[in-house]
């Protein structure tokens, strides 16, 4: 595992070190991976992180906890609302605030839309990694509809700051509901097209099947969660395992794979979009009337001393906020457990002995969002 570029080049002349990133097309951001290659086989990998670290955890220790909300969106720009959700829930749990039911419904609907949006982007970007240029345009076409819907209610398109402690900042209206229903119909009608163009494609299947296999035990050792874990056959989804918000009310399946290879996680993500659509449909049907803000949210939100944890299912796996409070309104310590961080750490083991092309497809299957790793 330990790997020093210079020592390597001196020692093993027949191997050579390829520097992938930080500006490589398939590292999706400022991630750098040092590859030790023998021919085209990667014998060793060393990810180098920290190019985009923004010290969110340090920032959190210097301002009132509820002012940290916009920062959560910047950690994972694709799952901003889900990050909002986790953080709002953490503070509500800590301060003992009851959230109105309508708020929970709105949160679930928007979070699930956000999840589909994230999966659509991954879908396109992953195929771009695999050399297909067209699907990303189709998935962006669909994704644009979600962004329009969400923009109409949250006011922004990517780094949403929509949830508040105890509520949401703006109520949804009839236009949102009809727009979302229309979108559900549209996306459902698009799935067969994706199946034809991409999922059934023999080249894609050859590229993904048996590549980057994981086992549940490996996942436990590395703390891998999310679609990668579900691809190995473990139906572990925070929405089911520790039902937060109102997820226990909805009927949805947790798609799982069997082999744990790239194809399994690929299909898990693809089917998750359908399941998210189901959740949204049910939530829209059951949307209650009511207030969008909890009755008593103190202006200065003091958090009783102690430690609190809030875990939600982000598009890439389990997201946990761990807050240590000393009784003031400023967190004493806030740690964000981001899924991509743990997921990426498996790369050296997962990709050992793989072809360079497979390293690219395995890395794409992790669905990396680098700001989430360099938080």
């Amino acid at each position: 595992m330990s790997m020093d570029v210079k020592a390597l080049e001196d020692d093993r002349h027949h191997r050579y070190v390829l520097n992938m990133g930080p500006q490589h097309p398939s590292t999706h951001g400022v991630l750098r991976v040092l590859l030790e290659l023998e021919g085209e086989y990667a014998m060793n990998l060393l990810p180098v992180l920290g190019y985009g670290h923004r010290c969110h955890e340090k920032i959190a220790e210097f301002k009132p906890a509820k002012s940290f909300m916009p920062n959560t969106a910047r950690m994972d720009y694709l799952g901003a609302l889900i990050y909002n959700h986790g953080f709002a829930q953490l503070l509500e749990k800590a301060a003992g605030i009851e959230v109105p039911e309508r708020v929970e419904y709105i949160r679930v609907i928007t979070s699930e839309l956000n999840r589909i949006q994230s999966h659509l982007l991954w879908y396109g970007a992953y195929l771009l990694d695999l050399g297909a240029f067209t699907p990303i345009m189709y998935s962006f076409d669909d994704r644009e509809h979600i962004l329009d819907i969400l923009e109409d209610v949250t006011g922004s398109r990517l780094t949403y700051c929509y949830f508040r402690v105890g509520g949401v900042s703006k109520d949804i209206d009839e236009k949102f509901v009809t727009g979302t229903r229309a979108f559900i119909k549209r996306l459902r009608s698009r799935f067969p097209m994706y199946e034809d163009l991409v999922n059934g494609n023999i080249i894609l299947q050859k590229r993904l099947i048996d590549v980057g296999e994981l086992t549940p035990h490996t996942c436990a050792r590395y703390g891998i969660t999310g679609p990668l874990l579900r691809g190995t056959g473990v139906a572990y989804d925070m929405r089911r395992a520790e039902p937060y918000s109102i997820y226990s009310k909805f009927d949805f399946e947790i798609p799982t794979g069997t082999k744990g290879d790239c194809m399994a996680s690929f299909m898990v993500r693809f089917h998750e979009m359908e399941q998210s659509l189901r959740i949204i449909e049910q939530a829209l049907d059951g949307l209650p009337e009511g207030s969008i803000m909890a009755a008593k949210v103190p202006k200065k939100l003091k958090i009783p001393a102690g430690d609190y944890n809030s875990s939600v299912e982000a598009p890439r796996g389990e997201l946990s906020y761990y807050l240590v409070s000393d009784g003031s309104d400023v967190p004493y310590r806030l740690k964000v457990r981001t899924p991509s961080y743990s997921n990426l750490s498996v790369i050296p083991e997962m990709c050992q002995g793989m072809l360079l092309s497979d390293v690219v497809s395995a890395m794409g299957a992790l669905d990396l969002v680098i700001p989430e790793i360099d938080r």
Partner: protein, 182 residues
């Protein structure tokens, strides 16, 4: 996984095991460890099928506290394990048991300066190479709190692992008091 059985084994390894209310804190169990038992504890957890959620440090007096979080794939069981570092700010590594801890430990070394003994590659992960001694998340003297100030229950970590119902948020006075003590 039989939780009672596992709990008995935890009790053998730890100084205190307490049940905490999930609805309040988001954890089910709190386990206080001695630092030489951390590796045994991690091995036990891996054998029981827990995965490592997170590994982090909190800077408090008397010493930096390293916090391990575990959860289980099949049943809801969130475990919080804590241990204090020794005078030399050292801690045994668990990165050979839970490989995922590798990066968490490197990050903790970056931010808090905790040295994990036995770690295969304890080089800066997030920080650049030249900032080895920056330790950005260490608290300034004025802001540093005693460990009891950030605990939910009143001070004196009793060895008796009696599960108390999670106290209501009236811990503040206690927190202030312990601050004065320190």
């Amino acid at each position: 996984m039989d939780i009672n059985q596992v709990k008995k084994q935890w009790q053998k390894l730890s100084t205190a095991v307490e049940d905490i209310e999930y609805a309040v804190s988001g954890h089910d169990y709190n386990v206080c460890l001695e630092r030489d038992k951390v590796r045994d504890f991690a091995t036990l957890m891996l054998n029981e099928g827990f995965y490592l959620v997170d590994l982090m440090a909190v800077h408090v007096t008397p010493a930096i506290e390293v916090v391990y979080q575990f959860a289980h794939f099949e049943t809801r069981c969130r475990v919080l394990a804590r241990a204090f570092v020794d005078d030399k700010v050292e801690m045994p590594t668990i990165s050979d048991i839970y490989q995922g801890a590798n990066w968490h430990e490197r990050e903790t070394r970056d931010f808090h300066g905790v040295v994990f003994i036995g770690h295969p590659y304890l080089k800066p992960l997030i920080l650049p190479e030249e900032d080895v001694d920056l330790k950005p998340l260490l608290k300034a003297e004025a802001k540093l709190k005693d460990v009891d100030a950030v605990r939910r229950k009143p001070p004196e970590p009793a060895p008796a692992p009696k599960a108390k119902p999670a106290p209501k948020p009236e811990v503040k006075p206690a927190a202030v008091k312990s601050q004065e003590q320190s």
